[in-house]
Symmetry: C2
Subunit: 241 residues, 2 copies
């Protein structure tokens, strides 16, 4: 939950008691293998899932079998907080790598929401944060060529993982297959491969053994056309060099 707290504190002021209450939320935890379904489309689960460890994703499967990955869920991200109001999943949740989730009954969330407005606000904020990221993905997918689009995704993961302390020496876990990246960017896995070669040739990144290292963050950010403002991180934070 430290990841969650660090994320929430980007846009919210939490007191010690709030933090304690958030930590208290985590009761049952589930371990799920890579490339497994966690929640299916049309499900009506009784509890929300919070990623504690590992990478998961939101996705939809279209009629013709094509899959669209809509978001990556990193440590500290909620998978299905919106269910508290929408009632039914309109997409599925699956793991990328092996993941640990906290299962948090909606009842506990509602209790928090009613009695602790500061926490309620922070949780609502986090869904709006997810929404801001999705807006950027939508713009990226529509307007950027495949190369910059992939670079942009890498920059975003870098910053998000940095927030939760999952980056060491400009390098972080990158457990995605090229097919998963393709389903994310809306391009074929073959093209993902070629675009990755490009980034390597330009000496922007190293990707090896499911770990990605950023070699030249300045040039990568520039190539991606990345402006971090959509992440709503206050200026004083020492992120993005």
């Amino acid at each position: 939950v430290y990841s969650l707290i660090r994320k929430l504190e980007i846009g919210n002021t939490l007191l010690e008691t709030d933090r304690a209450r958030l930590e208290g939320l985590v009761g049952a935890t589930v371990r799920i293998l890579p490339r497994q379904n966690v929640v299916d489309e049309d499900d009506i689960p009784g509890s929300a899932h919070l990623v504690l460890d590992g990478f998961a994703c939101r996705y939809k499967v279209l009629r013709d079998g094509r899959r669209a990955i809509l978001a990556f869920l990193l440590p500290g991200d909620f998978c299905d907080l919106h269910l508290a109001l929408l009632g039914r999943m309109d997409h599925a949740i699956g793991t990328i790598s092996a993941c640990t989730f906290a299962r948090i009954p909606f009842a506990s969330i509602e209790e928090l929401t009613f009695n602790h407005p500061r926490i309620a606000r922070a949780l609502w904020w986090s869904t709006l944060w997810d929404e801001a990221i999705m807006r950027e993905w939508l713009a990226s997918m529509g307007q950027r060529a495949a190369g910059p689009q992939l670079a942009h995704l890498i920059c975003e993961l870098f910053i998000r993982l940095q927030i939760t302390g999952n980056v060491i020496d400009n390098s972080f876990a990158f457990p995605f297959t090229q097919e998963e990246l393709g389903d994310t960017l809306g391009i074929s896995s073959v093209h993902v491969n070629r675009v990755l070669q490009q980034l390597r040739e330009k000496a922007l990144i190293i990707l090896h053994a499911r770990r990605l290292t950023i070699l030249d963050s300045q040039r990568l950010l520039k190539f991606a056309g990345f402006k971090s403002s959509y992440l709503h991180i206050p200026a004083q934070r020492p992120i993005e060099a």
Copy 2:
């Protein structure tokens, strides 16, 4: 505001008093010409905007000048409710056609939110509804070819406008230029033109004088691969034929 109320009642139960309170929200109203900016990126406005009449959009402009339209804002939609928490716009709002907006001070919204949980819940629900639509756009943009993608957009507008009573005889206002559609779908305006021809040739739609008529909704839905479940409309409603 009737549009807003009809939309909220898709997923929320409102009492007569709630409806009255929502109607009471609308004080100052603004009229804005077509293709005008309403709110700029990085703005920190003091009041939210609710579309009363006309079509507006969210958009981002990338470094190279390309524009991505992220959402269409129809009567009953809020433009910037999320600002109450995120604080700063990460995208701009502009009009498509001439629009009338209600300006609603964040103070009033916070008051409602604190003292009237049913309304708070309904407003939160509406931001989650917007999010569900955005997820579908993201999937559509990534996985559908241009033709089905445009058809899908038309289906969605049809249903959304039907909810607020803006559809007459399978036809509705369609004030978009082909360039705006291109910025929405992530394709060039020339290609939008060709794809529109296709839909006309297949006798699926008529588009004339900024008004769109659906000729064969069954075939259009099928061509688009449209499944309305993402809109979270309860089954008993007589929408989608």
